[in-house]
């Protein structure tokens, strides 16, 4: 590619800084609210707090319920547990399904792909009522397992689509070479396909994690025990019709965002290659 002249390099930097500023401004508002005193929204346009205070974080993290349980800790644990098992189960299901859809020839393969896309088309909120009865019948109401299953299946279509696209672009010869080298189908999958698909798996994993980590409507409906609540459900209490504690809400929002941001940062390298295949070739 043509190298940019110093002038255009400056220009590029300028544009990027400008876009970053726009990007950061609303996000900084969350930070501002979290570190301000009181629950009121500040009325000045500056994105920096007027009075600096950790009170919201202390309130939030120190919250203890009527039985003396450290509720924030339990909810954090609940969130982590739900999000990570969702990721694991979702990935396990998605990777194998995507591999089959990409590599095997079997009836109704195209129909399978279309079905996956179709499930994304029906508004999720309207499936809530039937889903509730279903989970109750399966004995999964008010359990993390039920929530995990719902999340895992909800994020499946995206994961399968992305992974299938990646597998499609992966040269088939590598698997054939492994077969020739004496690998069983399972060994081909474990030793060649999975390591090669690592970027895509990382990205789809991140996506499932985020879906489960951020979701609150289903969690608020399906869980009936405060200690099982995930953090977004807990946070949602701070903004309601009568009374909104925006400060505490923002502090919570910040805490909720941190793990996701950390994951994003850690997976940065994979993120770029993982959504589109191409890096595997050669």
């Amino acid at each position: 590619m043509r190298r940019a002249s110093p002038l255009s390099l400056w220009l590029i930097n300028l544009v990027l800084i400008f876009v970053c500023a726009i990007t950061l401004y609303p996000a900084l508002w969350v930070v501002k609210l979290a570190f301000s005193e009181g629950q009121a929204i500040s009325l000045s346009p500056s994105p920096l707090p007027d009075h600096f205070s950790f009170q919201h974080f202390i309130d939030l993290v120190g919250h203890v319920d009527s039985k003396g349980r450290w509720i924030f800790g339990r909810q954090l644990f609940s969130s982590l547990l739900v999000a990570s098992t969702t990721t694991l189960i979702g990935l396990a299901l998605a990777v194998s399904a995507a591999y089959a859809l990409s590599r095997f020839r079997f009836p109704a393969r195209e129909a399978g792909m279309q079905t996956l896309l179709i499930t994304q088309m029906f508004p999720a909120t309207l499936m809530l009522v039937p889903l509730y009865s279903l989970l109750q019948r399966l004995g999964l109401l008010n359990t993390r397992a039920g929530l995990v299953l719902v999340y895992a299946t909800a994020s499946l279509p995206f994961c399968v689509w992305m992974l299938k696209g990646y597998f499609d672009a992966m040269p088939k010869e590598l698997e054939e070479a492994a077969m020739m080298d004496g690998a069983s189908p399972l060994q081909v999958f474990w030793k060649v396909v999975l390591p090669l698909a690592r970027p895509a798996i990382a990205v789809t994993g991140l996506f499932s994690f985020m879906t489960a980590w951020n979701e609150y409507i289903l969690a608020a409906t399906l869980l009936n025990d405060e200690a099982l609540f995930t953090l977004p459900v807990a946070l949602n209490r701070f903004v309601d019709e009568y009374k909104s504690e925006y400060g505490t809400f923002a502090a919570g929002a910040l805490l909720v965002s941190i793990p996701v941001m950390a994951l994003f940062y850690a997976l940065q390298k994979h993120l770029v290659g993982g959504l589109t295949a191409g890096g595997v070739k050669g």
């Binding site: 950061l24 020839r105 896309l117 029906f122 191409g278």
Partner: protein, 713 residues
């Protein structure tokens, strides 16, 4: 003796489950009261705090499935609905009516039976900043005389602030100006002189700069705390958050000088209800009653600052010495207990659209009433005529048979099965877990959802109506095609919304990706992380932030416009600007995904192609058009297809930023479906029909893109 023992061990093993929406002081009071109850009776109490906005739907879904609590605390306004669904138990005979304020008992009485035990009541009153208003106004004339001196919109100071777009807050004014909610037959009526006068009065105060626009509860608090609003209308819940430096008093709402009637707020009674399916009804009633009386009341007053419903409480020192309670009791004297009729539930949504239409100046106060009546008829649909489901079932059977037959015949044609599909068994093994999961947890609810669209739902009963819902929607029955509430208008908005969003996401994402590819760029990693932030932060949080940024008086965007010398914009009063606000928010949320996809896709383009183009003397633009774009297409297309489906159903942004304003015109199909299901009296069948139509539109679109992609291959 034995029986007692069994009862004791039983009750010790079985805690009483209680759900509530309390926070802060009210919650601590409840916790302590519950502990006392356990000490007295030996029955443990398990409290579950639920976000208030989800509490009602949680109760209505959980209790009929036997997954709910024994006791729950809720306002009385939904009592009729609860009673119809059988989720509340009668308290007649167990509660002594004379112990409580008569208004609170009235509120809990339906058809001669009482339900639940009244705890406290809530209504609005006038909070007055004493420093700025030494003598609170007793009449609207006095109020109007005070306001000019207290207001200066340029400095963002206002004499009065309240949530002027909310029916709950407009109701006192409507009633004070002689208006009514219902006619003599108990039907909602909007087109009354009182309605026009009350709206004209509000508009006058707003136009003269005495009141801010687009007011939320949070803004009311901020304005009062910063001394920017001299008077605000709010309920007892505000008191806990008022800054300690603010010297204030609470007084009943003033009287309307023109009519001599007081501004009459709604009275909401909070009660402890016993579930209709409680596992231990006796102990549950005992607990609910315990909460409403004596020591528990004391706790609720002292710790929770509640305005108690128990009469005896007013004799105690704690209540007598509390000016807030006294003030609200006085305010409650003028209040009207919120009716529990089904008609009441139908009143809210059209009323809200009417009030907002006036304060956003899309309709005049005089014309508003007629519009309200029309909206009422449109939003509270009559059931389409019921039909027999038999022909439907027969058709369904025939179609299924036909499909099986086709599959059978198809499998006999062409190559033998094993050759055509050599991997069937392996595929079954690999696909089974995902397929079963999707089939059970997605396809079953999906099928149920689809079949719901053939029913009309009204307060607990489903009637089969066949195509009825679809005919209503597609026939655009109650409004012309160009009106915001018609399907076609919303569809148009949705398509515009999707197309613009996807174009912006891809355009901006791709542009940034190309900039970030610049090999000499040093801070690439930093930029990349910063630009991904909108994707990483939960969107329900950032959507709220954006809404704040678009506020008429206090939003950052108008602040910047003013700095640039541009007239500030009332973003949510016109379709174009409200739509632009939604678009800006969603663009901000969505471009990082496309940027990341583009970055990856750009990487997969071989460098030598560019080198070849360079040698051929192609300009950068030509390189972009002739190499980058065509090479990106296969990599970007799946993401674009998915992105389109997501944007089409992007609920959070529309719901949280513009909320459909003005007048529901910026709603997209999915928010409209949600409103029919959850905000317009649970018209599940109609909402499901909307959902099916959404599905059909997307399905046609995906069939189209499928052809697009296969043509490539």
């Amino acid at each position: 003796m034995n029986a007692l023992l069994i009862a004791l061990t039983f009750s010790a093993a079985q805690p009483l489950k209680v759900w509530h929406g309390y926070r802060g002081g009210e919650e601590s009071a409840l916790i302590e009261a519950a502990q006392r109850f356990t000490q007295e009776t030996g029955t443990p109490v398990e409290l579950l705090p639920v976000p208030y906005q989800t509490l009602a739907s949680k109760l209505t879904s959980a209790i009929p499935h036997d997954a709910g609590p024994d006791v729950f605390i809720f306002a009385h306004e939904r009592l009729r609905q609860f009673q119809r669904l059988g989720i509340v138990d009668r308290s007649t005979g167990r509660l002594e009516p004379r112990t409580y304020l008569p208004q609170s008992i009235d509120a809990l009485t339906l058809d001669g039976e009482t339900y639940g035990y009244p705890l406290a009541f809530k209504c609005v009153a006038l909070y007055v900043n004493k420093k700025r208003v030494p003598k609170p106004p007793a009449t609207t004339d006095e109020l109007e005389a005070l306001l000019p001196a207290l207001s200066n919109p340029k400095e963002r100071r206002f004499g009065l602030a309240y949530e002027s777009g909310e029916p709950y807050y407009h109701a006192p004014i409507l009633l004070g100006f002689g208006g009514a909610l219902f006619d003599a037959q108990g039907r909602t009526t909007m087109n009354t002189p009182g309605m026009a006068k009350s709206l004209a009065w509000v508009l006058k105060l707003q136009e003269r700069g005495f009141m801010p626009q687009e007011v939320s509860g949070a803004l009311v608090l901020s304005l009062f705390n910063e001394g920017r609003a001299a008077m605000v209308v709010s309920g007892p819940w505000l008191a806990a958050d008022i800054h300690k430096d603010i010297d204030y008093q609470v007084v009943p709402l003033p009287t309307v000088s023109e009519t001599g009637l007081p501004l009459k707020p709604f009275l909401g009674v909070e009660a402890a209800f016993v579930s209709g399916r409680a596992e231990q009804p006796d102990i549950a009633h005992r607990f609910a009653k315990f909460l409403s009386l004596g020591a528990a009341t004391q706790l609720r007053v002292e710790k929770g600052q509640q305005i108690p419903a128990e009469l005896a409480a007013y004799e105690t020192e704690a209540v007598k010495s509390n000016p807030l309670i006294a003030a609200f009791r006085a305010a409650a004297a003028n209040a009207m207990p919120m009716p529990t009729t089904l008609e009441m539930a139908r009143w809210w949504e059209p009323m809200k659209l009417t009030v907002r239409g006036v304060v956003q100046r899309t309709v005049t106060p005089e014309a508003a009433g007629a519009m309200g009546d029309r909206l009422y008829r449109a939003l509270n649909r009559q059931s389409p005529p019921p039909t027999s489901p038999t022909p439907w079932l027969i058709t369904l059977g025939v179609v299924l048979l036909g499909l099986f037959a086709y599959a059978f015949v198809d499998s006999r044609r062409g190559l033998p099965w094993r050759q055509r599909y050599p991997d069937t068994w392996r595929a079954v093994v690999y696909m089974a877990p995902a397929a079963i999961g999707i089939a059970v947890l997605v396809l079953i609810p999906f099928t149920v959802g689809i079949s719901l669209s053939l029913f009309h739902y009204d307060a607990g009963t489903y009637t089969f109506v066949g195509w009825g819902n679809f005919i209503d929607i597609l026939g655009s029955h109650d409004y012309s095609i160009t009106e915001p509430l018609s399907f076609y208008f919303t569809l148009g908005v949705t398509i515009l919304w999707t197309a613009l969003n996807v174009a912006l996401h891809v355009g901006i994402g791709l542009a940034l990706a190309i900039l970030l590819k610049e090999p000499l760029l040093k801070l690439r990693g930093v930029y990349r992380v910063l630009l991904i932030i909108p994707w990483a932060v939960p969107n329900y949080i950032t959507a709220l932030m954006w809404k704040g940024m678009f506020h008429r008086q206090f939003g950052a965007i108008n602040g910047i416009l003013e700095l640039l010398g541009i007239e500030p914009v009332s973003w949510f009063t016109r379709f174009s600007t409200a739509f632009a606000a939604n678009l800006a928010t969603n663009t901000w949320l969505g471009f990082p995904f496309m940027m990341v996809v583009s970055l990856g896709a750009l990487q997969s383009i071989p460098k030598d192609l560019y080198e070849a183009a360079e040698v051929d003397g192609a300009s950068r633009w030509t390189q972009f058009r002739r190499i980058t774009l065509p090479m990106l297409k296969p990599a970007l297309l799946p993401s674009i297809i998915l992105g389109t489906v997501w944007t089409f159903n992007m609920f959070n942004v529309i719901y949280l930023v513009s909320g459909g304003e003005p007048g529901g015109s910026t709603n997209i199909l999915v928010t409209e479906a949600f409103r029919w299901a959850f905000e317009r009296n649970e018209q599940y069948g109609f909402a499901a029909a909307y959902a099916v139509l959404i599905f059909v539109v997307l399905f046609i679109w995906s069939a189209f893109t499928k052809r697009l992609t296969t043509e490539k291959a």
